[in-house]
């Protein structure tokens, strides 16, 4: 165990506070990490985890408090300074440059003369040593998310860090890739590297971390040893209350097909996108179907085709409530009773600078909010108020701008807006991405209620736990193709994980040598 009492702690944080105009991100936070220790920093979205890490890495500066690095007080000026000290960080949203090669990306973080050939050799060395295969000459935009993360980690390791910070590193990986990552991290810890592991996934923390610090509302609410806790007790530390449990009835057989996709093939508009090939799927009234997959395997293209953002050439490829709808635009599909929650909240799901009321009007205007071409403000306002109340959206009222809401609250609002339209078909992409645990379980519960009322629900998500929790059936998307569907009760994380790399029974062998998986 890493906690030999004679050792100097690698990093000590004492009483660090960071106050933003609207929120106290960190309030008197203490944290200590020893050499070779893997410490989890646990907390919901907005608990202050990311701010704390940015302070350690020098991206922002604390308003108060003290940082001791290997026993002596330091002020971390900026990330370059942090790297000099021996602190490396792998960001949640990768800080990679898509139009540059892997080697160039790494070069940007390594001081000294530009020597791409030499650097490429060192990249290959490190990737061999830690089992992180990646080709230094490839352009980053062509890499899968898992490969990108490897590049980030390699970039850190090249500088021989003594403290490695990982911010939600597994949110984009297949279960198999997570296991590989953990092996690498354990190897690093055994070599004496300290690791700060930020996450809200409790099972992973239990598996990997020696110790955990729990943050809530910017404050440390507890320390624990994950191996001696249960996910339930840690969840209570994290959100301050017990998580609600779900009730889940059996799906009824023989209900009508509400959404049918039949032989859909689409060439992606985006040169770095994924082509959809012969995608077929049915979603019936009163069931929730989940599409699992590592991001960047055609989910965006599929959602655009289903929602009508990119109508497809053949109208029979997509049927909504029995009507061939392939060539309809999004508005006409909505008129058939279909609603969507896109992945991107600001820009696709809501207009950032419009008020919540106006954002309601954009998709829900058919609910008697427009008469003779004139807007009925009162109806829209009532709808927005209902949505805010029923879905517990924390905001400054229906008149506040969409972009003034936090990510989780805006997501609740958007999901609420679509659910309150009582759709016949509801399609959601990443419904709980970046949403805190409490709000996420609320959203899931609402989806289950909707299912009971007979809506056909299609969920595209990267969170396997979520899919297993709410879905009746699962399919997997990989490289633009769809696997056969399986009842959730008859499959498991293990099998779906294998399918996520494109290897389901009857799948054609991969065409290119660079599969889009981690």
């Amino acid at each position: 165990m890493p906690n030999a009492p004679s050792e100097t702690p690698r990093l000590v944080i004492k009483g660090v506070s960071k106050i933003y105009p609207s929120v106290i991100a960190n309030d008197n936070v203490d944290l200590t990490i020893m050499p070779g220790e893997i410490r989890a920093v646990l907390g919901e979205n907005g608990a202050g985890k990311s701010t704390l890490m940015k302070i350690i890495y020098g991206v922002t500066h604390p308003d108060k408090g003290e940082i001791l690095w290997e026993g002596s007080p330091v002020t971390v000026q900026n990330p370059a300074h942090a790297r000099e000290l021996g602190i490396g960080m792998v960001f949640q949203h990768f800080s990679l440059f898509e139009t540059l090669t892997v080697a160039q990306n790494v070069a940007l973080a390594v001081p000294g003369r530009l020597d791409l050939a030499g650097l490429s050799r060192r990249i290959e060395e490190i990737s061999g040593k830690y089992g992180l295969p990646v080709d230094p000459r490839r352009l980053v935009h062509a890499l899968s998310v898992g490969e990108r993360q490897r590049v980030e980690i390699i970039r850190c390791l090249l500088q021989n860090p003594r403290l490695l910070i990982l911010d939600e590193p597994t949110s984009v990986l297949t279960p198999q890739a997570v296991r590989k990552l953990f092996e690498t991290l354990r190897q690093l810890a055994s070599e004496g590297v300290s690791i700060l592991y930020i996450s809200h996934k409790l099972d992973e923390i239990q598996e990997l971390c020696h110790t955990a610090t729990v943050l809530r509302n910017g404050r440390v609410t507890g320390h624990c040893t994950p191996s001696q806790e249960t996910p339930k007790t840690m969840a209570r530390l994290m959100i301050g209350e017990d998580l609600p449990t779900f009730h889940h009835g059996e799906p009824e057989e023989g209900r009508e097909v509400r959404l049918r996709i039949d032989g859909l093939s689409v060439k992606s508009e985006d040169p770095f996108g994924v082509d959809l090939e012969d995608v077929s799927l049915e979603v019936r009234s009163g069931e929730i179907v989940g599409i699992a997959g590592v991001s960047g395997n055609g989910q965006q293209e599929l959602l655009r085709a289903i929602s009508g953002e990119e109508p497809v050439p053949d109208k029979r490829w997509i049927h909504v409530c029995g009507v061939p709808a392939g060539r309809m635009n999004a508005s006409r599909r909505r008129a058939l009773g279909m609603c969507f929650v896109p992945e991107e909240r600001l820009g696709r799901g809501a207009v950032p600078r419009l008020s919540l009321t106006d954002n309601v009007l954009l998709t829900a205007f058919r609910r008697k909010m427009v008469r003779f071409g004139m807007i009925r403000r009162k109806a829209a306002k009532t709808f927005a108020d209902d949505c805010i109340r029923l879905f517990d959206v924390k905001c400054g009222g229906a008149a506040s701008e969409a972009k003034s809401l936090s990510g989780g609250n805006l997501q609740k609002f958007i999901v609420g807006r679509e659910i309150l339209q009582e759709p016949k078909v509801l399609v959601l992409a990443q419904p709980t991405w970046g949403v805190d645990v409490g709000a996420a379980s609320f959203i899931r519960q609402q989806l289950l209620c909707l299912r009971e009322k007979g809506t056909a629900v299609l969920v595209i998500s990267e969170e396997l736990d979520e899919l297993f929790e709410i879905c009746d059936r699962l399919v997997v998307i990989a490289k633009g193709r769809l696997s056969p569907s399986k009842a959730t009760s008859e499959t498991g994380v293990e099998e779906v994980g294998v399918w996520m790399s494109g290897m389901w029974p009857g799948a054609e062998p991969a065409k290119d040598e660079a599969p889009h998986v981690a």
Binding site: Y57, G58, V59, T60, N78, P79, A80, H81, A82, R83, M89, F91, F94, S95, L96, F97, E98, T99, L100, Q104, A107, L108, A109, R113, L114, L139, H141, D270, P271, F272
Partner: protein, 310 residues
Amino acid sequence: MQPSLLSAILFATIVAGTPLIIAAVGELVTEKSGVLNLGTEGIMSMGAVAAFAVTVHTGSPVLGILAGMTAGMAMGLVFAVAALTFMANQVASGLALSIFGVGLSAFIGKPYESQALPSVATWNVPGLHKLPLVGHAFFEHQGLVYFSWALLAAVAWFLYRSRLGLVLRAVGEAPVAAHSVGYNVVRIRYMAVLFGGAMAGVAGAFLSVFHTPLWVEGMVAGRGWIALALVVFATWRPARVMVGAYLFGGCMITQMFVQGSGMHLNIPSQFLSALPYAATIIVLVIISHNKATIRLNSPASLGQPFSPEA
């Protein structure tokens, strides 16, 4: 066509393309850092008048160029302070700078309007300028023409081979990521804007001291805007900037030759005058319509302000 006429057209084409290359390469560096400076026209005007005035008073075209460069950097600094430090809207600040520069240069230039400078001697490349056809066209130019070629090569090397060029491209691609890796985004953008300003100033100096050695109000005549368009249509690649600049210059010169030759063509002269603009845009649109190359070469953060605190 006689060889001498062809040679004359080639020669004039290169002269006409030179200020476009210098200004566009400067703007290209600015835009690669993610900053859209629409002030090129105004900066060129200021560069032209400053260079002309200094050359009149000192008799030295070299000092004239330096004055044009300094004026260009001063204008660039004004833009940088507004757009980078105070994060004013880049499009609005750039347009304002253009209008401001054109107006101020007219005001400063009033006393110089009736004056003329002796034309600057050419420098013939030893040996090469004797070659048939291409000798005169390529190797009997004024110094700034050779400078524009060196500039192209240097900027291409800088962007794709040097460390600082890599950093510059990274900043333009993803400023937030560049900041988190530890680069000073605002400082790098300042440098890029100042370089772009300096080059636009030199391009202006070329016009008033070398190309037509006199000062006339409005003599930049839209070349700043053409340079801006060239950068975009060339998908931010130095070699294509050169192609576009000479294409534009070539069409311009050819149509002038045609109009001046007294050939009896049934084409309205307005159409011929519009031809260089139309041809350049059409050709560059055709060679750059590939989405992948656009995505790979365009600075993704172009025109977006960056604040290290947010």
